[in-house]
Symmetry: C2
Subunit: 386 residues, 2 copies
C-alpha cells in the first residue's frame, strides 16, 4: 500500500516520539462541511494565483479568530499566510538572513528547525533554558559575542520541554531585541493548546514596537495536511516576504486551503474543534503524568498545554543508545541529543501526549519504564531520574 | 473588498502582460466534485503530516496520467510532489546549489525565476535562444567558461517566446549535461498545452541517464490556487529533496490539494478539462494572431501551444518606456527587458493569450497597435516590427 503520512512506526511499537496529532482526531467532517461551503459559492477566485500576502477574506477571518484567542486585537494587514511554520521559517531565512550569519536557538529546541538553518548556511548558537523558558542573562552574554540575524524561540508549551516563557521574561526579551537589534522569530504553534489557564499573550503582541515575527499554524489546531499557517508581524516586514522570489513568482502560498479554512472559520467550526482538542489532550496529559509518576518517572517540567513531556534521566543514561533496546520492547521516544545542536542533553528524552489514546499512552509508559528499570538495574542504580 | 488574487489590473485596462489563466475558465465544478469525493471516503490520512515525497496514491495516479501524456512511461517513485514550480525551483536551489554558484538561464527567460535565483545568491548567466530554443553552440561556449550548478530551461512553448526546443537539440543538450556534469532543470508547465501536434516528449524522458529534473504543475492545466506541482527525476535526486530541512520538518508539501486532485484524476475529470483548455486557447491564439497580422504586428515566432506571443519591434522602440503611454490607452504588456537578466531585449514585448476571451484580446491588440502607430509616426517610421 502506498505511503500517505509522514508517520512511520514499526509494527507493534508505540512511538511516543512522534509529534503528530492522532489520526482519528483529524477533523474530516468539519473540513468536508467547509469545503462544500466554499466550493458551492460560485466564486472561483481562490483557484487563481493568490494575492501575495494571502486571501484577504481569509486574513480578515483569521485576524478575528486570533484577536479572540491571542489576548490582543490584530488586523488582517498584520498577517501573511504561509504553508505552515516550516515553510515560514524557510522563507524568513531566505528574506532576513545571509549565508554565514548567526541565529540563536533555545537549548533544547525543536530539532527539525536545525535542518532548515543548515540549508540556509546559518551558524546556530544555543541559549540555555529553564522552567520559565529562555534564560535572558545567558542571552545577553551571547549578544555581547554575536550579532544574530534572529532568535528562534518557542515561547509557549515549548517543543520539547513543555515550558512557557514568563510574562516578565517576554517583556525583557523584547527590550533586548530593541537594544541589540535582532529579530525574534516566535514559533507559537502550541499557543492555543492550553489545558488549564491561558498562557501569556502571543509574543506577536509586541510586533508593533519590536522585530517580532509570530508564527502560527493550523497543523496543531486543525490539520497538518492543509499546510496552512501564518506570520503575524509589522506590515513592512510582511512586505519583504511578499517581495521574495518565491512569492512574487507563485503568488500567495496556499489559496485553496486558505479558502476552505476561511469557510471553517465563517461557519464557526474551529472553536468547538479546538475545545474538543483541549479536552482530549488534557485527559491524555493527566493520564500520562499519572502513569509516569507511578513508575517513578517525574518529568523535568510540568506542562500546562502543548504536545510534550521532557524527561531528564540520571546522567549515566544515554537515550540515543538505549533506543534500539526500547524499540525491541515495543516503545520509542525522541532522544534528547537531537534537540541540542551540540549533541548535549544525551540523558534526556521527549514524549508526546497527542498521538495516541490513553490505553496506548499507558502501555507505552509501562514499556518505557520497564526498559529503564532493566538498564538501571544493570548499572547498579535503583533510580532513573537524576 | 479584500484582495484574493494576484491579478491586479487597473480599471479599464486590458492587460495582455498577465500570465494567468482566465478566471471564468477555472474548474470550480470539477474540483467541487473531486473534493466531495475525497472528503466523503472516511479516510483522514491526507489531513496528517504527509509522506515526504507526496501521497503515494496521488503519485500513482499522476504517474499514470503523465505516462499517457508525456510520451514515455514513468512510475510514482520518479515523482516528488511540490507546491508548484516556483516552490520547486526554490527547493532545488536550496538542495542543489551553494551561494555564489552560477546557473544558466535562457535569454529571454521567465522573468520571475530570476528573483528566486537572486534570493539564493546565485550568479545568473544567460544563453541565447532562437526559433528552436536554446542555442547549443552558445551553451557549449559558456560551459567552457563556467561550471553551472544547473541550466534552467523552459523547453516547450517557452515563456516568453512560445518556442520549443527541437528533438535534435534535446538529445544534444542531454549529452552536454553528461559531458560537463550539470543538472538540467526543465520547467515544463506548458508541455500539455499543445494546440496542434504534441511537442517532443518531456525532457524528463532522459532523467534515468542524465541529471534532468523535470518540473510540472497543475497551475496551467487545472488551477494555480491549488499550489500543486511535481518534480520528475531519478529517485536518488528526489531523495535529496526529501531530506531538505523544509521537507523533513513539515512533511510532504501539499497533502490536502494532492488528495483532492487524486480524486479528480481517479474520476477522470482532468482529461476533458484539458481538452477544453486546448480548444479554447487554440481559438484565442488564432484570433490574436489574425488580429496582430492585420495590424502588421507579426510575432517573432509562431507558437504551437502555451500562453505567450513574443513581438520584437523596431530596435528604436523601448517597450518599458512605452508602457505608461500604453496604459493611458487602456492596454498593457510585459516589456522585453524584464526577460533578460542584463536588461537586453528592450525593443521586445510579451503578450499572453490565456487570460482574456477573444473580444477583449482583439480590443487589446487594437489598442496596442494604435499606441505603436502613434509612436512610429512620431519617430518618422512607417512600421513597428524590425
Amino acid at each position: 500500500m502506498p505511503d500517505v503520512t509522514q508517520t512511520r512506526i514499526p509494527p507493534g511499537v508505540i512511538d511516543l516520539g512522534v509529534g503528530h496529532p492522532s489520526l482519528e482526531l483529524l477533523p474530516l467532517e468539519p473540513l468536508h462541511q467547509a469545503a462544500l461551503h466554499r466550493l458551492s459559492q460560485g466564486d472561483p477566485s481562490f483557484l487563481q494565483y493568490g494575492v501575495e500576502s494571502g486571501d484577504g477574506y481569509f486574513r480578515t477571518e483569521l485576524a478575528g479568530f486570533l484577536s479572540r484567542h491571542y489576548g490582543f486585537a490584530l488586523g488582517p494587514e498584520e498577517l501573511f499566510i504561509t504553508s505552515g511554520v516550516s515553510q515560514a521559517l524557510d522563507l524568513i531565512c531566505t528574506v532576513f538572513t545571509r549565508p554565514g550569519q548567526v541565529v540563536f536557538v533555545e537549548e533544547p529546541t525543536y530539532f527539525l528547525s536545525l535542518g532548515i538553518f543548515r540549508d540556509h548556511h546559518l551558524e546556530v548558537v544555543a541559549i540555555p533554558t529553564d522552567e520559565n523558558g529562555l534564560i535572558l542573562e545567558a542571552l545577553e552574554v551571547a549578544l555581547k559575542q554575536h550579532q544574530p540575524a534572529f532568535l528562534y524561540t518557542i515561547p509557549t508549551f515549548q517543543n520539547p520541554t513543555g515550558t512557557t516563557l514568563s510574562q516578565e521574561r517576554r517583556e525583557r526579551l523584547v527590550e533586548l531585541s530593541q537594544q541589540y537589534g535582532f529579530l525574534i522569530v516566535a514559533d507559537e504553534v502550541y499557543q492555543l493548546l492550553h489545558y488549564y489557564q491561558p498562557p501569556p499573550p502571543s509574543l506577536g503582541r509586541f510586533a508593533d514596537r519590536a522585530g517580532v515575527l509570530s508564527l502560527g499554524s493550523f497543523s496543531k489546531i486543525l490539520a497538518p495536511g492543509l499546510r496552512l499557517g501564518w506570520i503575524q508581524a509589522a506590515p513592512h516586514r510582511l512586505q519583504a516576504l511578499a517581495q521574495s522570489g518565491l512569492v512574487a513568482s507563485g503568488g500567495g502560498l496556499n489559496p485553496f486551503a486558505s479558502a476552505v479554512v476561511r469557510s471553517a472559520l465563517e461557519l464557526g467550526l474551529l472553536e468547538p474543534y479546538l475545545q474538543k482538542l483541549r479536552s482530549v489532550y488534557r485527559s491524555r496529559l493527566e493520564a500520562m503524568l499519572q502513569a509516569l509518576r507511578q513508575e517513578g518517572l517525574e518529568p523535568r517540567y510540568l506542562p500546562q498545554g502543548g504536545y510534550f513531556l521532557w524527561l531528564e534521566l540520571d546522567p549515566s543514561f544515554e537515550t540515543q543508545r538505549l533506543l534500539e533496546q526500547a524499540i525491541k520492547e515495543g516503545v520509542r521516544y525522541q532522544p534528547g541529543a537531537r534537540f541540542s545542536n551540540q549533541g548535549r542533553l544525551a540523558h534526556a528524552l521527549r514524549l508526546c501526549l497527542a498521538y495516541y489514546d490513553i490505553p496506548d499512552l499507558l502501555e507505552g509508559v509501562r514499556r518505557l519504564a520497564g526498559v529503564l528499570r532493566v538498564v538501571a538495574a544493570a548499572a547498579g542504580k535503583g533510580h532513573c531520574i537524576e
